[in-house]
């Protein structure tokens, strides 16, 4: 069976201020459809960098990256944008909801992105279905400032899922939430995997990681420890 994601020997050197610093030295990772993977690691270990490479926010300096068998290691920015739109869904720690838009408009942002066009009525129905899936359809017209942290993160998850992505990438999605609300968010992400979506979760929380199918630890730029449950 072709893997959904297949990363082999992925390397990345950070070249910001000061000396270039190798952050990833040889990451190997395979994720199949419906699988969930948790990535643990210390702060600065490169978890978010790895996630940004998987999500095509950035390009690796070495290694090979296959998405459903297609080599996308050096994909063009144009193609990357299309892949981000069609294949990936993203959930961030800080929700990243636009304050001037309603919950529904925030979700619709993933549909109004220049990658095809849905008529207003279809768009609304799709958005409402995504919000309903998260149990927050009644908050569709609310602006983010009127929502709790948990509700905001569920809006963000609805935005990530509204295009029915193959892969869901979550970067510490519970980091800004209390334990109970965080648990509900993890439930929502888990539910996505049950519908066939691959999930890569970056987290510091062992308990949330333990709920994933596989738990990997990023140490010295590589996924060296895999804990099977």
């Amino acid at each position: 069976m072709t893997a959904l994601l297949e990363l082999s020997g992925i390397a990345k050197v950070l070249t910001g201020q000061g000396q270039p610093r190798p952050i990833l030295t040889g990451v190997d990772l395979t994720v199949h459809t419906g699988q969930s993977v948790a990535i643990l690691g210390r702060s600065g270990s490169g978890k978010s960098t790895l996630l940004s490479l998987i999500g095509l926010f950035d390009r690796p300096d070495g290694g090979r990256y296959l998405l459903a068998g297609e080599d996308i290691t050096t994909v063009s920015e144009r193609r990357a944008a299309r892949l981000r739109s069609e294949r990936f869904g993203f959930v961030f720690q800080r929700f990243f909801l636009l304050k001037h838009l309603t919950a529904a408009q925030n979700v619709a942002m993933a549909l109004v992105n220049g990658q095809g066009w849905l008529p207003r009525r279809s768009r609304r129905a799709t958005v409402m279905a995504a919000l309903d899936q998260m149990g927050i359809a009644h908050l569709a017209k609310h602006k983010p400032t009127r929502l709790s942290g948990g509700e905001q993160q569920r809006v963000a998850i609805a935005r990530a899922l509204v295009r029915r992505p193959q892969v869901l990438l979550a970067d510490e999605p519970t980091g800004a939430l209390d334990t109970e609300t965080g648990s509900l968010v993890i439930d929502a992400l888990h539910a996505a995997t049950e519908r066939g979506c691959g999930l890569v979760l970056v987290t510091h929380d062992q308990a949330h990681a333990a709920r994933m199918g596989r738990v990997l630890r990023l140490v010295d730029g590589a996924l060296v420890q895999e804990v099977r449950r």
Partner: protein, 426 residues
């Protein structure tokens, strides 16, 4: 026409951005408004001046494409010309007379055919208007002043209005279909009508060289764009009373070239000095365009400068806004929005601002012209008839969009270059 998904997305997101930042949008519009208004005003002024100049040119020289011929000075020029062009389609020859209407044996109130509003004094055998235009009174200096007006009289062989579209103010234009009448029918211009009305002179027409006075019929009043008293009559009706001095001008339409060839041949055969034959085709662009171009360029330059300042205002606000919206743009890129579309969103916003400003500036322009028309319309006849030129609105739209693009370009490029990975890091 269906818009592409990218364009629709840009418009939808741009609209959301504008609604979210109403005050900033308003401030951008304010910074751009004066520039666009300057462009609208300059363009409106230029178009109105251009129209006025072209109308003036048509009245005084002829419509575009009219061939204006100056004939050689020769004893047989008048007879040959009138014989050749009388009744020929697409032609009109003007024979000129010096004429006086009113009491016989007196010096006319406007001796020399001067304008009635600018009558000046007599200076040593000359009469001058207040602009210094002087005419010799040598022949008339023995006559006492009396109730008579002097004017230029043109005899026409054909309908001159096909070349020079005089506006009929009242009455009727000359009828060339029937035979000539003994009593010459005159169509007077507004200046002469004013003089006749003001001085109530007897209806007795004296033509230079005529032995007997005729009783004229005034059949209409036209606006011929001439500030000197002038009248027009059928050439054949005037010839009954006096032969014309000369053919002042010959007008030909472009399809009357064969008539011109016949006339040339006959004049050559009569021994006329054909090197004096001079013709010109009326080209309003050549006459008017060049005159207005420099003026228009100067004012457009000034308007462009003001517009540039407006664009700088948009640029300033745009850069600040992009700085504030880094997370939004990074997020949009994360959910699949291409860089080009992000740039398009910023440009769409600034162009919408430009369009709104253009609408406001055009509205103010229309309103301003309407106010000017109501307030100054009585004193300035041109204003009374003028409508806001659509070209000015179009210029405003172009200026607004151009300023939007100019001011939005750098913010758009910055927005497109925002790195997702750096911004979206937890």
């Amino acid at each position: 026409m269906r818009l592409s998904g990218k364009l629709r997305s840009a418009l939808v997101i741009g609209g959301q951005g504008i609604r979210a930042r109403k005050l900033r949008t308003f401030l951008s519009m304010v910074s751009l408004f004066l520039g666009v208004l300057a462009v609208v005003t300059v363009q409106a002024g230029a178009v109105i001046a251009d129209r006025a100049a072209r109308i003036d040119l048509e009245l005084n020289m002829g419509r575009d494409g009219t061939v204006q011929v100056y004939l050689p000075d020769h004893a047989e020029t008048v007879d040959i010309t009138l014989d050749t062009v009388s009744g020929a389609a697409g032609t009109a020859a003007l024979t000129s007379y010096r004429a006086v209407v009113g009491e016989p044996g007196v010096t006319p109130v406007n001796a020399g055919g001067m304008s009635f509003d600018h009558l000046g004094g007599n200076y040593g055998g000359y009469t001058c208007d207040r602009y210094g235009n002087c005419v010799s009174l040598e022949a008339d200096k023995t006559k006492p002043p009396g109730q008579a007006v002097e004017f230029s009289l043109y005899g026409l062989t054909g309908d001159l209005r096909q070349f020079r579209p005089f506006h009929l103010v009242s009455g009727a234009w000359l009828d060339f279909t029937g035979g000539p009448l003994m009593s010459p029918g005159l169509v007077v211009n507004e200046e002469l009508a004013k003089g006749l009305n003001r001085y109530q002179v007897p209806a007795e027409l004296r033509l230079a060289g005529a032995t007997t006075n005729a009783t004229p019929r005034i059949i209409g009043v036209v606006d011929d764009g001439n500030s000197m008293p002038t009248a027009y009559a059928r050439s054949d009706e005037l010839r009954t009373w006096s032969p014309p001095d000369r053919v002042a001008q010959l007008y030909l339409s472009s399809d009357a070239e064969p008539v011109a060839q016949v006339l040339k041949t006959r004049l050559t055969a009569a021994g006329a000095p054909m090197d004096q034959w001079y013709s010109q085709v009326i080209d309003s662009e050549e006459f008017v365009g060049d005159q207005l171009m420099l003026l228009r360029l100067i004012f457009l330059g000034m308007a462009a400068l003001v517009l540039l300042i407006g664009a700088a205002g948009i640029l300033n606000v745009g850069l600040a806004t992009v700085g504030e919206r880094i997370e939004e743009f990074a997020l949009r890129r994360a959910v699949g929005t291409p860089r080009l579309l992000l740039a398009g969103i910023v440009l769409a916003e600034t162009m919408i601002v430009g369009l709104l400003t253009a609408g406001a500036a055009t509205g103010v322009g229309v309103l301003g012209l309407e106010v000017a028309r109501r307030v100054l319309g009585d004193r300035e006849p041109l204003l009374a008839e003028v409508a806001f030129p659509w070209e000015a609105g179009l210029a405003g739209v172009i200026a607004g969009v151009a300023a939007g693009v100019l001011g939005g370009l750098i913010p758009a490029i910055r927005a497109a270059k925002i790195p997702i990975a750096t911004v979206m890091r937890a």
